[in-house]
Amino acid sequence: MDDLEFRRRVLSGDTHSAEVEQAAAHNAEHQRWLEQARTLEQELQQVARREVPAPLAAKLQRIPRRRSRLPLQLAAVAATVVFSLLIGRLWLQPSPESLPQALISHIEAEPISLAPHPALSTDSVQLTVNRLGYRFNQPLANVSYASICALRGRPVVHLALRSNGHTASLFLMPEEPLERQLRFRQQLLHGRILPLGDGSAAVISDDPALVEQLARITLRQLQL
């Protein structure tokens, strides 16, 4: 292997093949090149690799919670068919009781959303809601947290807003259809879930007035 070919191989990342090692074994210059190329590779590995932030790692681990999508075995398919025949269409819809619980659990599992962050820019909020096909006609004020999260294994927009010392969580859930609006109260939190296009939106806060206000704003300012 001539010098040019050796350099070409080494600089395209081939630092461990038998041919390259053989070419380096009898040539001190090649050997030195190879060692230096390996050092560069190590440095590239170290610099390119980033640690996953802990909140993101926790979110990723929570994705399978609840509504699992399993590798469906034949028995499970058969069981589902029998189940749906027996129980009927109603049971195939998300249970009205389980969605509030999933929302509350999600907020509890993501306390960072309630932390008093400074307000995000409207562009940043718009960018996040756009990810799932939503858009605000007028900017939503005082949004301190905006993220795409997994709720029952489905992507949702999760926003947190602050107003008069209270925090409200707003979820835009394109894959959670709902026939009728639903109000609930659990663990000192008030919530309202509204049908929204093919999906739904949920507002949750410890302040019932804020829930109503944010629900109104969401219906008025959100474009699907």
């Binding site: 600089l11 560069l40 440095e43 610099v47 993101l56 990723l60 399978p64 699992s68 590798p71």
Partner: protein, 176 residues
């Protein structure tokens, strides 16, 4: 515990392993690709949500990283297509694993800047190789380029890195 519960538990356990094993390279790739930490986090979540939704198709452990990276690239391209004004507003912050010395910090910063300065088209092949462990042939398949083009881009990318690194860098002390 019923049969479904057992399947569910096993699937979750396998998914947790998948996250543990691949989240760092996928996140790293996303952050270099987007140049934006928030965007990278969103992207990684979308990738793993999709991975969970299609988990039953992910039976071959060796194919997992390739599958995840393909989803990542596809989602990123879809996002770019939606953004009329393009991207590449690289605002990558310095957030390296704790280097032991100031000298190492300096070297890493220089290498990071050199990577960010790579010409378009050179970054992805080198990321696929360094973070994804792809061979030249696999990069060729992923990016739709000939193997010789991939080899050439990898070669030129490293040449660019070496040119841009300061002469006191460890790897470039004598190579340049």
């Amino acid at each position: 515990m019923g049969i479904l519960e057992i399947f569910r538990w096993r699937s979750r356990s396998r998914f947790e392993q998948l996250v543990e094993q691949h989240s760092a390279p996928i996140y790293s790739y996303a952050i270099w690709l987007t140049g934006d930490r928030c965007r990278a986090e969103d992207l990684v979540q979308e990738v793993f949500i999709r991975a969970w939704q299609h988990f039953n198709q992910l039976q071959e452990p060796k194919a997992c990283r390739s599958w995840l990276l393909t989803i990542l690239r596809r989602e990123h391209l879809r996002w770019l297509a939606k953004q009329a004004n393009g991207h590449n507003e690289v605002s990558l912050t310095r957030e390296q694993a704790d280097p032991t010395t100031l000298d190492e910090q300096l070297q890493r910063d220089q290498l990071q800047q050199a990577i960010l300065a790579l010409e378009p088209g050179y970054l992805e092949p080198i990321l696929l190789q360094v973070l994804g462990g792809y061979s030249i042939s696999e990069i060729s398949g992923e990016l739709g380029l000939s193997e010789s083009a991939v080899q050439s881009r990898l070669y030129r990318a490293r040449q660019q890195l070496l040119r841009q690194l300061a002469p006191n860098q460890k790897a470039t002390r004598r190579m340049g």
